[in-house]
């Protein structure tokens, strides 16, 4: 058990820190969260800066435009950028944290060459078209059809809750390529160009009043067969790879952010007078312990994944343990903003920033999605019970189609 940096890791961290200090000093204020084009511009410009400094895709292979370092360096990058208060991946989320890693793990050499570098350079934005109106938790119930026509698939159907769809260039799209096959076996993973004819995006408004996601309508959209990642009808397996990234390290940086936010909230509680309440202080203590432990869990999982990758010579794909992390983290983040509401009292009924502090209530609303998006907490519990603990599958779920 060694938590200290190796000399190489320490050198990487040190260089990154000084670069961040300089880059952060020159960084402009973040845009209005409702202004998607501005957000895209801001997030991709930051990504470009990271790229030019050599910090984009540190753990991606060099042929993909990455640095070819290990997952530990990636973790250091997440930790340090978050500590420095640097912009979050934002609009680059899907590309950097799951479409990209999926293409690294499952794409063809041509696909890697074509799609990965623009993600790292902050030139192209991705969205995720998995969920459908009737296929959320039960993702394998998806119905969007892709019919082969020569060297194209003709895609018809609709997707929903597609984050960043308004500004995305590409979409990782799940389609049904064999309607006759058992439900998990007829699915394929496609790269959909968002500007293709027949693609319509209709923004949806969230309960926080923002437009984070959209509906996607696909009307006979022609997608080249060469845009398929993995074999035809093997999309479910590829999807499991994608989701393990989403639940594994995609939220890691947010743990660091939550820990820092908890510190700011403690100081706010002190000025607001709530700190004298021992019961409240106790909740602060417990949450601090939770976020610290969640960060240790990330380090543990990354150590395991790095060792497995070194052993097999393959890529570090997070295991089912990612669900344990996702489950605890999404709940702890909600507890953090519930605690903020208690500190603020009736002030929690107001939207917008409080003095120099953040928009606690806006974040509280936003955070309600954490136990739903990327697989609900109920689904995570079932995964933990069945795949990690090995409990039997419920009889009702082993239905045929």
């Amino acid at each position: 058990m060694d938590l200290s940096d190796t000399p190489a890791e320490a050198g990487f961290r040190c260089g990154l820190r000084s670069w961040l200090a300089k880059a952060m000093a020159e960084l402009g204020p973040p845009p209005d969260p409702a202004d998607w084009p501005a957000r895209r511009a801001y997030d991709t410009a930051w990504q470009r800066q990271l790229y030019e400094a050599g910090y984009a895709g540190v753990h991606w292979p060099a042929e993909a435009g990455g640095r070819g370092a290990g997952p530990v360096e990636h973790l250091i990058l997440l930790e340090e950028t978050e500590r420095a208060g640097a912009p979050y991946v934002g609009a680059n989320f899907v590309g950097l944290l799951h479409a990209g890693p999926t293409i690294v793990a499952e794409g063809t050499p041509e696909q890697r060459r074509r799609y990965l570098p623009p993600i790292l350079r902050g030139e192209e934005i991705w969205c995720q078209g998995f969920s459908e109106p009737d296929a959320g938790s039960d993702l394998a119930a998806l119905r969007t059809r892709a019919v082969r026509d020569g060297d194209h698939y003709v895609v018809t159907g609709s997707k929903i809750w597609t984050s960043h769809a308004e500004v995305a260039d590409w979409c990782e799209l799940l389609v049904r390529t064999d309607p006759e096959a058992p439900r998990h076996q007829g699915i394929s993973w496609l790269i959909l160009p968002m500007d293709a004819s027949g693609v319509t995006v209709r923004p949806l408004r969230t309960l926080a009043g923002t437009t984070e996601f959209a509906e996607l309508f696909l009307d006979e959209v022609r997608v080249p067969v060469s845009n398929r990642v993995g074999a035809e009808n093997d999309g479910w397996r590829v999807t499991m790879v994608t989701l393990s990234f989403e639940r594994g390290t995609a939220f890691a940086a947010e743990v660091v952010a939550c820990r820092r936010t908890l510190g700011r909230l403690a100081r706010l509680a002190e000025t607001e007078g709530a700190w004298t309440d021992a019961v409240l202080r106790r909740r602060f203590g417990l949450l601090a312990g939770q976020f610290d432990a969640l960060w240790r869990l990330v380090q543990w999982n990354v150590s395991e994944a790095a060792a497995a990758a070194a052993r097999t010579g393959g890529d570090a794909v997070p295991g089912a343990g990612a669900s344990v992390f996702k489950l605890r983290f999404s709940e702890a983040r909600q507890e953090l903003y519930d605690l903020a509401a208690e500190v603020l009292g009736s002030g929690s009924l107001l939207l917008g920033a409080v003095g120099e502090e953040e928009d606690w209530t806006g974040q509280r609303l936003q955070g309600l999605s954490y136990t739903i998006a990327a697989g609900t907490s109920q689904i995570q519990r079932s995964i933990v019970a069945q795949r990690i603990l090995g409990l039997p599958k419920p009889r009702s779920a082993t239905r045929g189609s």
């Binding site: 969640l294 060792a307 489950l327 605890r328 079932s382 039997p392």
Partner: protein, 334 residues
């Protein structure tokens, strides 16, 4: 950074697990219960001592040259000690394990208990009082650690009915004798280490709770299928694991930090967080394990009660939830 266990650490873990499976398996555990709280089994205790469990951190290669039997330490760190204590916790070994190990690390021999003054909420209770060789008294006010003769204390103490059948308690109402000052001991460090090792015991216990629930849920059938196929039961088990895993890594990380940096404020906060999470994983895990066992879980026959009751004992050993949460919350304002 490579947070995984080293080969040596895995071997140590496996060796202790095998030793305990052989010497303190399910039958021995039940026999100890039926023994009506006989206290730490002297044979087992001697074997643990021989295996080095109480001298993990004592200096290596002492060769008994100071003439005291069993005083050779293994020269290991807390990182190894927490792995051993996870196993002791999993096996539910009774007795004042933590204080005896702490005493060993201070170069003191013999079965030891540790109490702190002023005590927390509730009466001052000492485990196994008549069987102790040493009683360590930590004075929070002066920051001193003293060694007191347990026989002197026992004279003014009363045995009480204790909740855990394997942790007999004595209630001490009289003032404690002043004893001898251990002037080279860092009392705050000893308290922090004791808190961490107790957290490790809880992690082992919580691990046993989740395994026991899973085994039972896979075997017991109702409505024509194993109860483990029901989502309500699966989700209880999943939550047990989701509380355990962060606690386990928190304990291990705190040990590494304490080994490297000593009892810095950050390291003490790490230990406090680890104990908080470990207590929660153990106490709630044992409670959920009982629920999964249904009516069987409510019987004296089933071992679930032993898990639950011991988790309560360890929850009140060394820093409790209140103290840990206070320490952590203070740290937030720094």
């Amino acid at each position: 950074m490579d947070f995984r266990l080293t080969v040596e650490q895995r071997e140590l873990q496996a060796a202790v697990r095998a030793l305990l499976a052989g010497r303190f398996g399910p039958e021995r555990l039940r026999a100890a219960v039926d023994d009506d709280g006989g206290g730490p089994d002297p044979v087992l205790w001697a074997e643990l001592r021989r295996a080095g469990v109480f001298g993990l951190r004592g200096p290596d290669g002492a060769d008994g040259s100071d003439g005291r039997a069993g005083s050779d330490g293994l020269g290991l760190g807390l990182a190894e000690a927490v792995l051993v204590f996870e196993e002791l916790g999993r096996a539910l070994v009774p007795g004042p394990l933590v204080a005896t190990e702490l005493a060993g690390a201070l170069g003191l021999d013999g079965t030891a208990a540790l109490v702190r003054l002023p005590a927390g909420r509730g009466p001052l209770l000492v485990e196994q009082l008549p069987r102790l060789d040493l009683l360590l008294v930590l004075d929070t006010g002066s920051g001193e650690l003293r060694r007191v003769d347990p026989a002197e204390v026992a004279a003014g103490a009363e045995p009480v009915r204790a909740v855990d059948p394997l942790t007999p308690l004595w209630r001490v109402d009289a003032a404690l004798p002043s004893g001898t000052l251990l002037d080279r001991a860092d009392a705050a460090l000893v308290w922090t280490e004791g808190t961490l090792l107790t957290a490790a015991l809880q992690v082992g216990l919580a691990d046993r709770a989740v395994r026991s629930a899973v085994v039972h849920a896979g075997r017991r059938e109702q409505f024509g299928q194993p109860i483990g196929a029901f989502q309500a039961v699966q989700h209880l088990c999943a939550d047990m694991l989701a509380r355990l895993e962060p606690a386990r890594v928190a304990v291990r990380a705190a040990a590494v930090v304490l080994d490297a940096d000593g009892a810095t404020p950050a390291a003490r906060a790490a230990v406090a967080g680890a104990k908080l999470l470990a207590d929660e994983a153990a106490v709630r895990g044992a409670r959920d394990c009982l629920q999964v066992h249904g009516g069987m879980g409510f019987t004296w026959e089933a071992d679930v009660q032993l898990l639950l009751k011991r988790s309560w004992v360890w929850q009140h050993s060394f820093a409790d939830s209140e103290e840990c949460a206070e320490l952590l919350s203070r740290q937030l304002l720094l």
